[in-house]
Amino acid sequence: MIHYSVIPAEFAWVDPSQEPETREVEVEGVSMLVEMTGSGEGRIVRLFSTDPRHYLDSRYQPGARIHVQP
């Protein structure tokens, strides 16, 4: 693989020991990355959607709690 980046590979490819469990989910048509805080519940890390209107929805702001199908 060829990595073309300004971040040196030795920094980019170091694996941290602790990382929170995250999941990619889709809620009501909005795809997002969710950090799981419990079973069926999580906190939104970021949205993947390209629709600008999803970013105005107060329910999907980063940090908001959301119910996820377990």
């Binding site: 693989m1 060829i2 990595h3 073309y4 300004v6 590979a9 490819w13 995250t22 993947f48």
Partner: protein
């Protein structure tokens, strides 16, 4: 109010909490009791539908943000903020396919990443039939350069930078001359793509890529805002307003069936 009730016949028109007596109706009377199961159903429906907290306007422009590392075949460690190939490619396909989407704005703040994934995204954007405009904010480095130039019109913020440097091979390398040839081919793919999709020549781009004395720890050049425009790499210096105005102009031309150039 009447319009709204007509549009959403399922919701409680008066917007009252469950159990509140309806005006003109005596509480505790026979009809009230009779209506109870129906009322419960309405409340359930409201809970399931959730609250409408913003006007549901349809946006004819979609925004594709390329941030952090461009991730390809290998999943990068969690401390990297990544833009994943498997997210972006279907998003571009969806944008091309959806008749409600008339244009795409690509926002870049990337440090680079996988060559194959980056070139794939760039090729997908450049082959879209709908108007596309890219905007480099902060940084559009390394493999971000071909992605930035792949749009119909590219913008760079006054303060944004783009680092152009040679392609490097990471990981275990077989120490044979063929490895070097392969790498050169990969590099040529990037150079050729950038030259074909912007106003910079292959020679000029190569010169920027191999220039010494500009970067402290590397070979290459860091072009800032208007420098990128002067080299012909990016079309214009501008911000979000300029980028969206240009995109809307192209959408309008596209609607009229005119040739967008």
């Amino acid at each position: 109010m009447n319009d709204k009730t007509e549009l959403t016949p399922q919701t409680n028109p008066a917007g009252q909490p469950p159990g509140t007596p309806v005006p003109g109706q005596q509480p505790g009377t026979e009809p009230q009791k009779k209506e109870d199961p129906k009322k419960k159903g309405i409340v359930d429906a409201i809970q399931q539908l959730g609250q409408t907290n913003i006007p549901q306007m349809q946006s004819n422009v979609h925004c594709l943000s390329v941030i952090g590392q461009v991730e390809g075949h290998l999943v990068m460690p969690a401390q990297n903020k990544t833009t994943k190939y498997e997210h972006v490619i279907p998003q571009i396909v969806a944008a091309e396919q959806n008749p409600n989407i008339e244009g795409v704005v690509i926002i870049l703040n990337t440090v680079g990443g996988d060559v194959e994934a980056g070139l794939a995204i760039a090729e997908m954007i450049s082959s879209m039939s709908k108007p596309t405009v890219s905007l480099v904010l902060g940084g559009g480095h390394s493999i971000g350069v071909p992605i930035a130039v792949s749009a119909d019109m590219s913008f760079i913020a006054e303060t944004a930078t783009m680092t152009i440097h040679p392609v490097r091979l990471t990981g275990m390398v077989v120490g044979v001359p063929q490895t070097f040839e392969y790498m050169e081919k990969m590099q040529d793919r990037v150079i050729r793509f950038v030259a074909q999709h912007s106003n910079i020549s292959e020679e000029q781009f190569r010169e920027l890529m191999f220039r010494t004395g500009e970067l402290a720890r590397d070979i290459g050049t860091n072009v800032i805002g208007s420098d990128a425009v002067n080299y012909g790499l990016i079309d214009r210096v501008g911000g979000l307003g300029d980028a969206l105005a240009e995109l809307n102009r192209r959408i309008e031309l596209n609607r009229q069936g005119g040739v967008v150039q």
